[in-house]
Symmetry: C2
Subunit: 435 residues, 2 copies
């Protein structure tokens, strides 16, 4: 482990390699059954970049599994944040909590080892990361609906709408210990991008003025800070905490949510905004991936259709679940037992979901801004080689995010948001024509 | 302990009497110092009704202390809710958490015993319960300001505005275990009053129609349920959880907050609403305590002035603390370092506090309703012997509470609320004249 910081003795645990990963997994019934014996015939290979986690694929004659071990420190160059390997525990705990509700939209978990900080799970193949698919211009016909329903199910069933609050409080107290990863979000999403920080970077010099303008816009910063405050003080449900397009693995027929290390009880809009905002980033990045002008026009339209379906599917499913399975302590069923209660209750549900919509937009904006101005950028933009083209794409996304934060009253419906995104192109073209 | 349910063996602990309370306290340096030796000369007497807690006063030549031991069960006739004696731990933990911030507005805590579920604290004398003072028509010149500032300090310093979120999450996880007492609030404040429940009662037959009307008002119930949901999912700060006028002990010069067994992380407006709502209940009850018509008119005005000062003092202090001591992760100071940020930040603070105001009114309404329609009533009304007079007083309070919940847009300022309360009399008199 050359170059690794020396962890405290108490933090030490053996790090796996291909041989030890195979030996370890060979001791587990569930793995042997899935791969087919004997273990000597299994193929083991390391995948992943080894920056945050070690990831191994084990393949046997009858199947395969994925072994994911959390590394004790962030190995990337740059500042070292606490990245305790206990995040594997929260990843496992999230999967356990949502598994009964989301069906096969998460990988099947075969084993968790608290000593090794390691998870063994179903190997997703031939899935690829959704973000990569979006960069390559691939279509996933059901992605918006599937993810919208996923967020609806995962959040509804872990909220006070679905179960006695005692269960939620116990689970909330457990995930409240996931502070090292929550700290990353607090700093990198809600703080750094809005002030000078050595961790920030942006496409320079093209975006210098836009970034300076953003960081001196007090109203925008106050709006972003209000969402940062909500992030910390509105535990509506168990949220994934990092649900961008890099946390979804897809084929044209299937999609799975992965990497829930950031899970905790927070606002439902945070997961909604992460996914929605990253679809918008993918949309804004498309011109950077065109071989010829307008080549991706239809694909861009498809992205927006899926973004709209994401919200609409979430909304429809969440409201349906509330109506069918509202057995929690919030809006207790016994308070609304008469027929005359139906309409006012429906209005209250609708108002609550409207609040989630506003939260989705605010959090989406924060997530978009941090990917352009903050520490961690996205491959959608990073893979655009021509810096000026990349800057133009990023500028469009940044401008929309700012409007979402500072003019929320102009985005009362999903249609208005989609229309504002679509007209970004026109604005950019007009600006180019004027310039 | 005749008539007590038989607790599980694991729950058993010795219950104190005057002799054992004195013997126990005699073993504690802090108590011996305060009372003056020798313990044989201490006077010990039991006070309190022994329903929820055993309370003893120990007096020595140089001072006195109060010994409060939690009983394992609710001894009152009626349904038995879980009232685990661990509530003494949460009472102690609340005092510990707010003590550095609220000065002498809480009793000094000398000792906590986790095995006996027992607290030994400063004996408050010649203090009386504020509710009793309000019934008797006594004035406490600084009560509104003192309590407003108390809530501002206790909530600000335990919120994300004042400290790193890691500290809040750790404390929140601890208080999340206080579920038995939170369950009481969920059921008795936010659910039972809005549907048929054997635990409910009201002044009958005078209020029969009003209660039936309330329980069939779907919009009102939806509004109350929304506040119930907020209660469970907006841990803005450590709240007392039961801050009515029975949880404040007063002299004309001093006031102390007691009995924080219901403490947990919740909406700041819940504490604000408890105190504000109970001042309004005291106002509505005044005609029931008059020896002659109009005798309490000036006193009533005084109550409203203090209610207004309560809110205004909270608001002023909370905003001042935020400006002076805003070192938390919400609205991080480094995001707002330039002079140009001052105005937008002030606007955001003001908007946040406006939200607390709306919450205060909604929670006040819920607290008022439950004291008239639900299980636990208040002495303000209960001590009115003439049932019809009591019903008239309660009707006025109930009508205002309903307006607060269903027409929140009409109560944008404290002045509008005070004016609506004041004009209740006129309405009631007009109604009486018509009737």
């Amino acid at each position: 482990m050359m170059g690794m910081p020396n962890p405290d003795a108490s933090d030490r645990y053996p790090l796996l390699d291909t041989a030890s990963a195979r030996d370890y997994a060979a001791g587990l019934d569930a793995v042997r059954e899935r791969l087919g014996a004997p273990p000597e015939k299994w193929q083991a290979r390391e995948v992943g970049d080894g920056n945050l986690n070690l990831v191994f694929i084990l393949e046997g004659p009858e199947g395969s599994v994925c072994v994911k071990q959390a590394l004790p420190y962030l190995r990337a160059a740059g500042p070292s944040w606490p990245m305790t390997p206990e995040r594997a525990f929260f990843e496992y705990s999230y999967y356990e909590a949502v598994a009964p509700h989301v069906g096969h939209q998460i990988p099947e978990i075969l084993h968790y080892d608290s000593r090794l900080h390691c998870l063994i799970m179903e190997c997703l193949a031939p899935h690829i990361i959704l973000r990569r698919g979006l960069i390559e211009g691939r279509r996933y016909p059901d992605i918006g609906r599937t993810l919208g329903e996923y967020v609806a199910r995962a959040s509804f069933f872990t909220s006070d709408l679905a179960r006695p609050f005692e269960q939620k409080m116990e689970s909330m107290a457990l995930f409240a210990r996931n502070t090292p990863l929550i700290r990353i979000t607090v700093d990198l999403v809600f703080t750094d991008p809005y002030c000078a920080s050595p961790r920030n970077r942006h496409t320079s010099p093209e975006l210098d003025a836009a970034v300076a303008d953003l960081q001196s816009d007090g109203s925008l910063k106050a709006a972003a800070a209000r969402f940062g405050q909500k992030f910390l003080s509105e535990p509506q449900a168990l949220v994934h905490g990092d649900l961008h397009s890099g946390s979804v693995m897809v084929t044209p027929e299937d999609s799975r949510v992965i990497d829930p290390e950031f899970a905790f009880y927070g606002p439902i809009g945070f997961d909604l905004g992460a996914f929605f905002g990253n679809l918008l980033l993918a949309w804004y990045a498309q011109p950077g991936h065109e071989a010829s002008d307008g080549e991706r026009a239809a694909y861009r339209d498809w992205i927006l259709i899926e973004a709209q379906r994401f919200w609409e599917s979430f909304r429809r499913r969440f409201l349906a679940l509330w109506q069918e399975s509202g057995r929690g302590d919030a809006f207790p069923a016994r308070m609304f037992a008469s027929a005359a209660d139906t309409a006012p209750l429906a209005a209250a549900r609708s108002a609550f979901v409207d609040g989630l919509f506003a939260d989705m937009l605010g959090f989406a904006a924060c997530k978009m801004i941090r990917r352009i101005v903050g520490f961690a950028h996205v491959l959608d933009f990073e893979s655009i080689g021509d810096r000026r083209v990349r800057a133009t794409c990023e500028s469009g996304a940044l401008a929309l995010a700012r409007r979402l934060l500072t003019q929320p009253e102009r985005f009362g419906s999903i249609g208005e948001v989609i229309e504002a995104v679509r007209s970004s192109t026109v604005r950019a073209r007009s600006a180019a024509a004027r310039g």
